[in-house]
Structures are given as C-alpha cells and as structure tokens.
C-alpha cells in the first residue's frame, strides 16, 4: 500500500525526521488559508502515482491568491490517469542541495538496504553508480548509528550534515521496521538553511502486514472492478485487451497471457484464482469478468489443490444464471479432471486438455465478428 506524501511525512515527523510544515487542503480556499498561515508555499498534488512534478502537479505560490489558483489547477489535472483529491501546501524551502536517502528490501541479500546519494532529486535514476552508496543492514541488530555515519562519510558530507544525515537514516530505519514498510524514501533529502529536511517523502507499506498496522491510514489504487474481484480474495489487475482470463496461480496466469499474445490475442486482465478456490468465489469472479464485456473468456486450470469439478460447477452456475453471454473456452486438467470435463460436456461445453489448443481456440473466437 502506497501512502500519500502527506501521510508519509506525518509518519516521518512523528519519528523525529525534519519535514517542512504543511497542511492538507481539499480546495482553493483551504490552500489560500494555508498560504496565509505558512507564507510562500509549494502546492503539491496528493497522488499515489509517480512523476507528478513533470505532469504539473507541483506549483509554487507566494500569495494566498496564487495558492488558491495553483490548487484549483492541480485538482483539475489528470496525472498519469490519477486525479488528486487533495493538495498539500507546504512551506517553501530554499533548497541549497539535494541528497537521496532510502531504506528498502534487497531481495538478493535478503536484508534491508540503505541507498544514499549526495546527488538526489528527480534525476536520481540517472546518477552514476559510483555516486550511490548501498549498505545492506544486518538483522536483527538493524541499522546502527555508526553504520549510518560511515555512509555519511562515504557521501563526503561535512561534519554537522553527516551527523544529521546519520540520525535521519536511523529514524527512517525505525520507520521501515516499525511500520512494516517495503520502502521509505526521501528524494530529495534537501539541504535548506544549512539543515537537512525531507522535502519529499514516500512510504510503501507491506499489504501483508497491514493487520498489525491498524493505526496507519489506508489508501487504495485499485479500480472499482479490481476492488470487486479482490474482495473475493483473488489477485486481479485490469489490462488492455479483449480476452478475459482466469487461471489458478500467478505464474500460470502470466504464462496464459503470454501464450494468448503469442497466438495473436490480447488479454483483458490478470486474474489469479489461486489454489483451491471453491465454486462460489470462482463463479463470482467469472461473473465480474463477464461484466467487463470481453470478446471471449479463457479459463485455464491446472488442478493441484484446485478441483476441476468445482470449477465446472462454477461455470455451469454462471451459465444457469444467463450471464454467459460471450464465447467461453475452458482448459481443464488435474484433480477430478474426468468429473469436471464430463460435467461440462453434459452441458455442451467442450473442455481442452492442451493449453495451446485452448489458447488458439479463444483467440479465434475473439476475432469473429460480433453477434
């Protein structure tokens, strides 16, 4: 779960990391009031998507009138498909220098990783490798202050900034662990008036740990449909094609999408029905898929825990309710395969055992002229 900038900054502030003073504003009037209280501000779109700066989502305002105008403009923007519901008005910083600092997970070493650079800002991903300091952090001791000082030393920071940098890094690490974050990032970590301050902040929290982060605010990037399918406990992402896809397992779902593409078709979604899904949720997921008006549907099941007869029952249930309005292709192998196949055949639905044949068939059906 990504947090909005203002949420991330609230967390950092509570952890003792210096952040600029700011206010969350729902509209131009609140933005004007914030500017009156704070002086010159940066008005920043609160969106979860990256790259808002280039999209016009950050504007400077010296007066309340300017702040109101900036807020109105930003709230009307489409920022990479996302529309801000709030702006964050933040005291303007006189930035002398931009650093980069993040704590994230390094899958290769299976350890938390501190990443820092003395050259931060929006071009951080183009910074030369040698200007980036990485330090894997040993568990369970975690990031120790002297290690953070070593990093500061490698960045070439002078005395006081080095001390402050090390202190901030240790605080970010505590947020990272204590908040079950996947990423805590300050870019830029700015030098303003000679002091370090987190000018921007990002905090992504592990979805699987939200149960023990009850006091964290919630955000949601999903579309209405995605939410509907995920509420069934299934992994779902909307794509751009016209063939609805349901398979059981993330890898095989990805492979199914790949196979469709190789056969000249295009998947409309990624729907991992998981292992062992029962008939009820499977039917509900299938209905949700049908509601998106695909040209055809492909169900690809390799039954390990999943039972083929349960899948067949779900399909028959959907058809009985009259929801099966487009061509359906089923590939069914594994546990209780014979029984599932027989159930479908009795209802006039042919089930394939070959993934290849099923894919070729559904692509052909999707290409047929509409009804």
């Amino acid at each position: 779960m990504k947090l909005f900038e203002y949420m991330a900054k609230d967390i950092l502030r509570a952890a003792g990391v210096p952040v600029p003073d700011g206010r969350l504003c729902a509209g131009p009037e609140e933005a004007a009031a914030a500017c009156r209280a704070l002086g010159p501000v940066a008005v920043k779109a609160q969106v979860l998507v990256g790259g808002r700066g280039k999209a016009g989502g950050i504007r400077l305002a010296a007066t309340p009138e300017e702040a109101a105008a900036a807020a109105a403009a930003i709230l009307a923007l489409d920022i990479h498909g996302e529309r801000a519901r709030h702006v964050y008005c933040e005291q303007r910083l006189d930035i002398e220098r931009e650093l980069y600092l993040a704590i994230t997970i390094d899958p290769s070493s299976r350890r938390p990783l501190l990443i820092a650079s003395a050259e931060g800002g929006i071009a951080i991903e183009e910074v030369a490798e040698k200007a980036i300091v990485r330090r894997a952090i040993d568990l369970p001791w975690g990031l120790l202050p002297y290690q953070a000082r070593q990093v500061a030393g490698r960045l070439g920071l002078p005395g006081d900034l080095a001390t402050s940098f090390a202190d901030i890094a240790c605080r970010l690490y505590r947020v990272f662990r204590g908040r079950d974050a996947e990423l805590v990032e300050c870019n830029p970590l700015a030098v303003a008036a000679g002091r370090l301050v987190a000018a921007d902040a990002r905090c992504n929290v592990d979805d699987d740990a939200l149960y023990r982060q009850e006091d964290l605010p919630r955000t949601d990037e999903a579309t209405v449909l995605e939410r509907r399918v995920r509420a069934l406990g299934l992994a779902f992402v909307q794509l751009g094609g016209d063939i609805a896809v349901m398979a059981n397992g993330a890898g095989i779902t990805m492979a199914t999408i790949d196979v469709l593409q190789r056969c000249g078709g295009r998947a409309m979604n990624f729907l991992d029905a998981g292992g062992g899904a029962a008939a009820g949720p499977t039917a509900a997921a299938l209905e949700a898929l049908l509601s998106t008006n695909p040209r055809a549907v492909l169900v690809n099941i390799f039954g390990g825990i999943t039972r083929c007869d349960e899948v067949a029952a779900a399909i028959l249930d959907v058809r009985a309710r009259g929801a099966l309005t487009v061509p359906l292709v089923v590939r069914l192998v594994g546990t209780n395969e014979a029984r599932g196949t027989e159930m479908l055949r009795a209802a006039g639905i042919a089930a394939f055992t070959s993934m290849r044949e099923a894919a070729e068939r559904v692509v052909a059906l999707a290409r047929e002229p509409l009804g």
């Binding site: 993040a102 899958p107 740990a209 023990r212 794509l239 990805m254 469709l260 593409q261 190789r262 390799f302």
Partner: protein, 292 residues
C-alpha cells in the same frame, strides 16, 4: 540422490491440525513421505492421519528425531513457527504460507542463515524428490516421476504444468524445488542451482522464472560456470510491469528485472530459453540427448 530431501528425511508438520495441514499430511503420507510428527501449540496428544501431535517442536524432535519441517501455519504465525523449527536444528524448513509479512520474511531468512539451515519459501508449494518418495508441501504427487531433471521454480501451478509435461515426455525429475513467490525467500535460484551442480543424479536443470526481481539474472551469472544443461521458461513476456518500489527499486534493479533482461542474460549464459510452456520438455530432451 536428488537434493535437500530424500528417503532419509524425517518430516515434522507444523500446523498439522489445521485444515490444510491435515489434508496435506495425508497427501504427503500417501506419496510415501516419512512424516514422523506434527506440532500445533495447545493440541499436543492428538493424532492426525496416524501422526502424533505435540505442543512444541522441541518435544516432537526429541521423540521422533525429525530432520526437516514443513509449515502449514498462516502467514502471521510463520515467523514464530519457522524460528521454532530452525532453533531445533531442522533443515530444510519449508514455509508454505503466503501473506507472510516481508519484515518477518527478512527475520526468518536472517535466522536461517545464522543457523546454516536451508529455508524454502515463504509462499512456496514446497519441494519433492520423487525417487526418495519425499514430498514436503502441497504439489499433487501424481505429476512427479523419478529421473534426472532438476527443476527450480518460483510459482506453483506453472511448475506443475511443466513438471507434468516433463513426466509425460518420460523426463523424470531428481528434485523439484519451489523457491517461493515472495520478494524475500530463503533459498534463491542460485543456491538451488549450486546444489544441483553437485548432485550426481541431476543431469539437466529446468528453471521456471518470471518477471520482477533479479533472481534469474543472478542465476544466469552462475549458469556460466555450470557444466550441466539448463532450460529456462520465463513467464511475463506480455504481463504488465509490477508495482514500482520508488526510485530505490530502479536503483536496485538497474535495468534488470524485465522479461528481456532475463532472457538475454540467460541466453548469454548458454541457457536455452523456452518462450512457450510446451517447448520446455522437448528442449530438455534435446539437451539430455546432447549431454548423454
């Protein structure tokens, strides 16, 4: 014979009294696995499928000399159960659960490393050495056949698909290992490959990867020095990009992680990369023909 588990492996099932635990204990026993004991705190003294249940791993290990553990506990309890197994000296420890908090995954991996234990998972279907009748986890037993092909994979059903195709093509398996689908897992592709490299039984390896992370690129690096043929299948050529982990993700991956990056890295290391699942078995057959 095979890697990590074999017919001498005495398996402890943690969370044995749960629905999944009980079902798969039965399945593992039917496959021939030596499941010697189970553990569920507060449920000691019962039996599941004829297997005695204890309150603590310590007690179960004392009584039955278990050597490995497979965990059927929910993600939120995986850390404690895995630590208990590792502390008792068990290896491998197989964590089936998905939704294990990432920070817990880091902790488990650190503790396993400190103990020198093999950790499989989290979020894995487990592993199986067919000739040893040793199946620790949830894959359907009927897909396996003893043989000379090592398989290492990230995702479950896709592995079954490919293993079943190998079996159908008369290409039995030495050991099949699901390293797990989480971002932080115990054994990586490279560590499994290292074991396959040393295993006399294994004459070829199938690697089933997917987009995201850099495990496949690291495997490619290791594959360069390996004298056994590897066939890879990669999923995700047409898949959307996974969620970005800020700039940090890009800095870690540095251009790696995509389908193309993985394909090129593997091919440059001499790995044959199948672009459709059903191409894997023929490529393995060809490789073994050449190798043999």
């Amino acid at each position: 014979m095979g890697i990590l588990v074999d017919e001498r492996t005495k398996v402890l099932v943690q969370g044995i009294t749960g629905r999944q635990g009980a079902f798969h204990t039965q399945q593992m026993l039917e496959f021939g696995t030596r499941v010697v004991a189970g553990v569920t705190p507060g449920r000691g003294g019962r039996e599941v499928a004829g297997v005695p249940v204890y309150d603590t791993v310590e007690a179960a290990v004392d009584k039955h000399g278990a050597t490995a553990a497979v965990l059927f506990v929910p993600g939120a309890l995986a850390r404690d159960a895995a630590f208990e197994a590792l502390d008792a000296g068990l290896s491998p420890v197989v964590v089936i659960a998905e939704h294990v908090p990432l920070q817990d995954g880091l902790d488990i991996a650190a503790f396993a490393a400190a103990r020198g234990a093999a950790l499989i998972g989290p979020n894995t279907y487990g592993l199986c050495t067919p000739a040893g009748r040793a199946k620790l986890g949830i894959p359907p037993g009927r897909i396996f056949r003893p043989g000379r092909v090592g398989v290492v994979a990230r995702s479950g059903t896709l592995s079954y698909e490919i293993v079943a195709a190998l079996t159908e093509a008369d290409l039995g398996q030495s050991t099949v290992v699901g390293v797990g689908g989480d971002r932080v897992v115990g054994m990586s592709f490279v560590e499994v490959l290292k074991r396959f490299a040393k295993d006399d039984e294994t004459q070829a390896v199938v690697l089933v990867g997917e987009i995201g992370g850099t495990a496949e690129e690291e495997a490619a690096e290791f594959a360069k020095g390996l004298d056994k043929p590897i066939v890879a299948y990669l999923a995700g050529a047409a898949a959307p990009q996974g969620k970005r982990m800020g700039h940090a993700g890009a800095i870690i991956e540095r251009g790696r992680g995509s389908f193309e990056s993985k394909r090129q890295a593997l091919e440059a290391a001499g790995v044959r990369v199948a672009s459709l699942p059903w191409e894997v078995a023929p490529l393995v057959a060809a490789a073994l023909g050449r190798a043999g």
